[in-house]
Symmetry: C2
């Protein structure tokens, strides 16, 4: 007899939490489908050959690996132990748990390339697993919600994903900002400074501006090989304040005739124009050319959503364009653009801000209770009628425990209790108590239904 | 560059399969909630201490075990290898993947006993993992859909679960039979024969009647310790043909005053009466006292659903009453009753019988396409209008590729294509092609919407 517990970093979701989760999932799913995205699901278990090498060395360490079934030691010699755990891992484990939805999606596209209709718009809402150190807000098992469009380079797709972002947070009644940038804007800056070879360190260092400030960023840039003059130019750009248009103009004059930089600016302008045409105001879309985003596979527009209320500063959505996601699976030149909603964080933010609508965890609208066997039989008849009318209903399971059944309904937040005794059977009515108002009325089935609307 | 594949026994679900799956999941979920069941979710990863020892020795072997993160070898000596893989497993792995939904549910109930309102009615629809040999219809990752009621011994619960079964398959338009029995019926038989100590072998052997026939069953019974007279009595019962009432009477006269047997008969009778009261006809509910069901934790009524059309003979749902499910987690005497729907098999059966309604995998109702930039802008305006009206819509992403966009809509089974050119912009209308009928009409937004209803 063991005292049970959850595995570290994992959670159970009880009825109330599930109601909240479903509220958010349903809104996101509704908009995904409204925008023409099709649902796919991939398995939790993937071959390690699919997963490893896709998330960097740190990611490889964070993959949950599954022990081979049967005698996994049969080809292992005592001397093999000296190889160390990293090498031996692949001798005793060939499968792992999904680490994100992007790599399995790339595998799916590559494997089904002949059957899919491109541009292919898919969404996916499934859990992923990471052997991270658990801490507040960081779990080892959590859901991701991704929408991607692959097989088209049109900026309409970027605009659609941004409109999708706007729709979803409007429905969730959460104020958000969307920072946007383009990898080409960043490339344009280093290209203009004749330091194209320093693009990667530039992006990585710039990404830290928020956290470590300009002083440290400039030191790191100097160490990485930028000159003091370069740093001055970059500082001049970074310190510039203004709205999107002013920022775009500032960069335009900086770039002069630099092609890649101008291409980046054009991406931003066109996308913003499309989003506005799509019916969304752009006030909360902030062009921020210090946004770099960690993932190395982005090649074009990138964006990151943050809550604009409450104290949450971390990202609640993000994404961008990538050109070579499926190349690792033997399918080069498949450009795509995606957005990922940080559903766990969104739920935390909504909870913190008390932004959930009044959600009841109770599945039932009415509980039927009774004094004796005749009432029990009558209750069973009614419960079926309620369900046929689309009203969730349940019968209290014990005879003659009226008081207990009311307590039960109260604790479960069931809004109505119907009592069925001899009078009710004789009159073909139900004594219905509105648990919120505390009122009680003798109503026929139809009268009650009418009153509900 | 690896040629990617799915891990053995796992599957991807593309848009069409997902539409079919969602159709079945949604129907089951709708009825679960109609009957007052509340949704919970438990994590995929559980501590092995929760999982092992709950599914028998074979089950323990079929658990997917997760390699500890970090240096899992640090406490392993070369000499440990001699212990063999079974023992070493627990040195290098402390977590595993959920094998079913029942054990995690029992853990959940036990851990949350002070917060839950009993009787607690929960449903759960999540994947489970088993390291079984994959074969047709048997996967290593598959969904289970369970509904359970714990904390009440009333037979109303059994009746509600059977009514739930009837409702779900009625909605799925699938003819099914439900075999029911009670463990007490079986106990009564061995008790009457004064062989109570042989209950377990009796149940196990009887369970094989379908597969191996009476001859072999009777040999096994003799070997297990039953006398020839016992076998004759059992044969007399088994060979008896008749409807439920006749069978109940046959057993009644066999039992005489045997208490446990009569209790079992009473369970069947009362439950069937409740189900009829609940509004469901009992014609497809077949009392079958050879039904034993493998799982040893059942103590009362047991039932098993089978399709009554097509060539599928295997079980598509099953369940029963258990009295001690949470005892393994330190919470004795918590009686419960449950039903599990074999969703993967249900999907296979519906597919095989062509019983899915016309399901389109396309998320979009209409695709908008255009010749030039003016049309593109207009399309982006319209697409937002459609979505606001609750109609899934998408914009073709390329300029001036009218023919390609029609092919795209055709392949994706999008039912309408709207073309927007200069005439359309001038008249504020859309040239809408009904892809099924092949008709084309110039319609205003409102005219099209009206026509859709």
């Amino acid at each position: 007899m063991s005292k049970p517990s959850n595995a570290r970093g994992t959670r159970d979701f009880g009825p109330l939490q599930m109601s909240k989760r479903k509220y958010v999932f349903n809104i996101i799913q509704k908009h995904f489908e409204e925008f023409g995205f099709q649902c796919i699901e991939t398995p939790a278990i993937e071959n390690l050959s699919v997963l490893t090498g896709k998330y960097g060395e740190e990611g490889d360490q964070l993959l949950f690996k599954i022990l081979n079934s049967g005698d996994f030691l049969k080809d292992i010699q005592a001397s093999d132990l000296e190889k160390g755990f990293k090498k031996i891992t692949f001798d005793i484990s060939e499968k792992g748990l999904r680490y994100d939805l992007t790599v399995p999606f790339a595998r799916f596209v590559s494997m089904n390339r002949n059957d899919l209709v491109f541009p292919f718009k898919r969404y996916q809402m499934q859990p992923v697993w990471r052997a991270d150190k658990p801490q507040k807000g960081r779990y080892r098992e959590f859901y991701q919600c991704d929408a991607d469009i692959v097989g088209s380079t049109s900026l309409i797709n970027e605009a659609e994903l941004i409109s999708l972002f706007q729709s979803i947070f409007k429905s969730l009644n959460l104020k958000v900002n969307l920072l946007i940038n383009s990898r080409k804007i960043l490339t344009g800056i280093v290209d203009k400074l004749n330091k194209l070879e320093l693009f990667t360190p530039f992006a990585v260092i710039l990404d830290k501006l928020d956290k470590i400030g300009w002083e440290k960023v400039s030191n790191e840039l100097l160490e990485a090989g930028f000159s003091q003059t370069d740093c001055n130019s970059i500082k001049d750009l970074i310190e510039f304040k203004g709205d999107n248009l002013a920022k775009l103009n500032k960069l335009k004059s900086f770039y002069g005739s630099n092609e890649i930089g101008l291409e980046g600016l054009n991406e931003i302008e066109t996308t913003l124009k499309f989003v506005e045409t799509n019916g969304f105001k752009n006030q909360n879309i902030l062009f921020d050319f210090t946004l770099a985003r960690g993932l190395s596979y982005y090649t074009g527009l990138i964006y990151e959503g943050k809550a604009d209320e409450g104290s949450f500063t971390s990202s609640i959505a993000g994404g961008g364009r990538y050109d070579n996601l499926t190349a690792a699976f033997g399918m080069p030149n498949m450009s795509g653009v995606g957005i990922s909603f940080g559903i766990e964080r969104i739920i935390d933010v909504l909870d913190d801000l008390n932004k959930f609508p009044e959600i009841s965890s109770s599945a039932s609208k009415i509980l039927l209770t009774y004094f004796d066997e005749a009432g029990q039989i009558e209750s069973l008849k009614y419960v079926n009628q309620f369900r046929k009318a689309g009203i969730s209903a349940e019968v209290y399971s014990e005879l003659g425990k009226i008081k207990k059944s009311f307590e039960f309904a109260d604790k479960k937040q069931i809004p109505f209790v119907g009592v069925i005794g001899d009078t009710e059977i004789a009159s073909q009515k139900i004594m219905i108590k509105d648990m919120k108002k505390g009122e009680q009325n003798l109503l026929s089935f139809d009268e009650f239904i009418d009153q509900l609307d």
